[in-house]
Amino acid sequence: MPYSLRFSIHSDSNSSDFALAKRESDIVISVRELRKSFPNDEGIDVNVLEAVTFDVHRGETVVIMGGSGCGKSTLLNCLIGEYRIDGGSIHYHTQQMECALDITESTEKQFDGIRKRLGILFQSGALFNSLTVAENVALPLKEHSFVDDSIIDIVVTMKLQQVKMLAHRDKYPAQLSGGQKKRAGLARATSLDPEILYYDEPSAGLDPVTSAAIDDLIMDLSKKLNVTSVVVTHEMDSAFRIADRMVMLDKGRVLKIGDRGEFERIRDADPRSLTNDNEKLINQFLNGYSEGPLTDAEGLSQFERLLING
């Protein structure tokens, strides 16, 4: 069992030990040394995630960010069990579980138990096109609860009201805008009152106003439902608005884990004043500079640099 998942508290521990142990007992998701590779065109395995390690605590909003192709989506797919990982562990410890469960070693039935405590908002909304918005939200309830249809209808109404989509309950996904699809997806993701909510690029493809509205919704849901949120995004405005803590990925490695304040300090710093290579790289990413260690590392040719810099 990973060190962070030792939840026992000794009777002679001092207050700081107690606080630490309490913090550790609050861990809902614990990722240790996670590795994932995919074969390239020549059939050679290329590492997409290398020794990724981080924890997510109960009730917090963690933003996982990084440039395109850094492994964010792969990490999310590993966390939700869509991809089988090559090494490491992913422990979940939801409120109803007596001890943490490593999903890499769990049976499908055990993991289904965890899945019922997770909600996922997919990038496209991933609504079922053959069902109306209300039917989409009702589906997980119909599948996993044994309550009467009239009660399901009440829950669906509440969930749609929560995301301000009640007026669109009888529409099909094809009749909705991008923002409405995300709202409906969020209503479906929260239909079983999950403990953990995953968001895959919640602001992608949305105008700034709709994007801000989705961010407000995420914060509102986190507060009202007291859920733990894991948000995968590269929209920096959105990330800094909603995050309690942030995880920065680059080329499948964790560059930095820290509070929002730490990342704000790096973002606002003069790049020349930064001495740490990782911080320079994070500074470039957060500010969206075309020049810096991130693009240099990607190996821009002289011709490409000329094109960018003029």
Binding site: I80, G81, E82, D112, R115, Q123
Partner: protein, 289 residues
């Protein structure tokens, strides 16, 4: 100069065997890859069949496992009811063609009235189920593959799994059952329409009275002809649905992938149907059925 030419000729000579070896290797490698892909595809389809049957049995014996009667009814309408028109049309033509093709040969033996016998046996034992399955592979199989492929691409399958809803139970089982059930029903319709096609052609073109035609048909057919035909139809339906579901669920590469899945469903289904038909014919022949 001579030296330079010699060197260049030597290089050319040494390069063509190498190129030949490389190209042969690439060709052989491609064939091996292709064969492995086919074997893999057959294995995956077999696994899909096993999982589908497992969920069907579970839904029969466990109260908390359901696959949705509404979904089954919806798929039965889509696969079966919507295919009735095209099956009737095609089978009517088949009946007419058979009667007209057979007439000159039978007439030369003075056995024109045997048209009814041959048409009936050919339709009920062979062409009814076969043509229905081929029509269904293009009509329903391609549609199932495209629908599931689009669901994969729009992350709907991923969303199902994320909500702990098994995609095989929720999507594959209704499609599998509806195809198997409806193809048997369609094969019965195809048998009747094929015989009617032969009857109409014989009546209006060959001058055989409907009463005589029907009497010959009844005398020619026995129960096992129907049963073997319907068993074949059921198996063809299972093949079409499994191939379509497998192609749909394994779609990669966006719209191009969906297009590829629909095409491959039709091609693989037709090959599998005819191959299975040959196996059935051999088995029925060996057992005198």
């Amino acid at each position: 100069m001579n030296g330079e030419r010699d060197t260049s000729q030597t290089r050319q000579l040494s390069s063509w065997p190498r190129r030949l070896a490389e190209e042969t290797g690439e060709f052989a490698g491609g064939k091996i890859d292709g064969t492995l892909a086919i074997v893999e595809s057959i294995g995956e389809t077999g696994y899909l069949l096993g999982s589908t049957l497992k969920w069907i049995f579970k839904s029969l014996f466990q109260k908390n496992v359901t696959f949705g009667r509404n979904a089954l009814a919806e798929q039965m309408t889509r696969v079966g009811v919507n295919s009735i028109g095209i099956v009737i049309l095609v089978q009517m033509f088949i009946g007419c063609i058979l009667a007209l093709q057979l007439a000159p040969t039978l007439e030369s033996y003075g056995q024109l009235e045997k048209v009814a016998d041959v048409v009936a046996i050919a339709i009920v034992r062979e062409l009814g189920p076969l043509i229905t399955a081929i029509v269904l592979s293009g009509f329903a199989g391609a549609s199932i593959a495209a629908e599931l492929g689009a669901m994969v691409e729009s992350e709907e399958i991923k969303a199902l799994k994320a909500h702990a809803i098994n995609p095989i139970r929720f999507l594959i089982v209704p499609r599998f059952l509806s195809t198997v059930i409806m193809i048997v029903g369609l094969a019965v319709i195809a048998d009747v329409i094929g015989v009617i096609g032969g009857l109409l052609t014989s009546w209006f073109v060959l001058g055989i009275s409907p009463d005589a035609y029907m009497e010959s048909t009844q005398n020619a057919l026995v129960t096992k002809d129907f049963i073997t035909g319907l068993v074949k139809a059921g198996v063809f339906g299972a093949l079409v649905s499994l191939i379509a579901c497998h192609a749909g669920m394994t779609v990669r590469g966006g719209a191009v992938g969906v297009g590829r899945a629909t095409t491959s469903t039709v091609v693989k289904s037709i090959v599998a149907i005819i191959g299975m038909d040959a196996v059935f014919t051999a088995i029925f022949y060996s057992f005198g059925l």
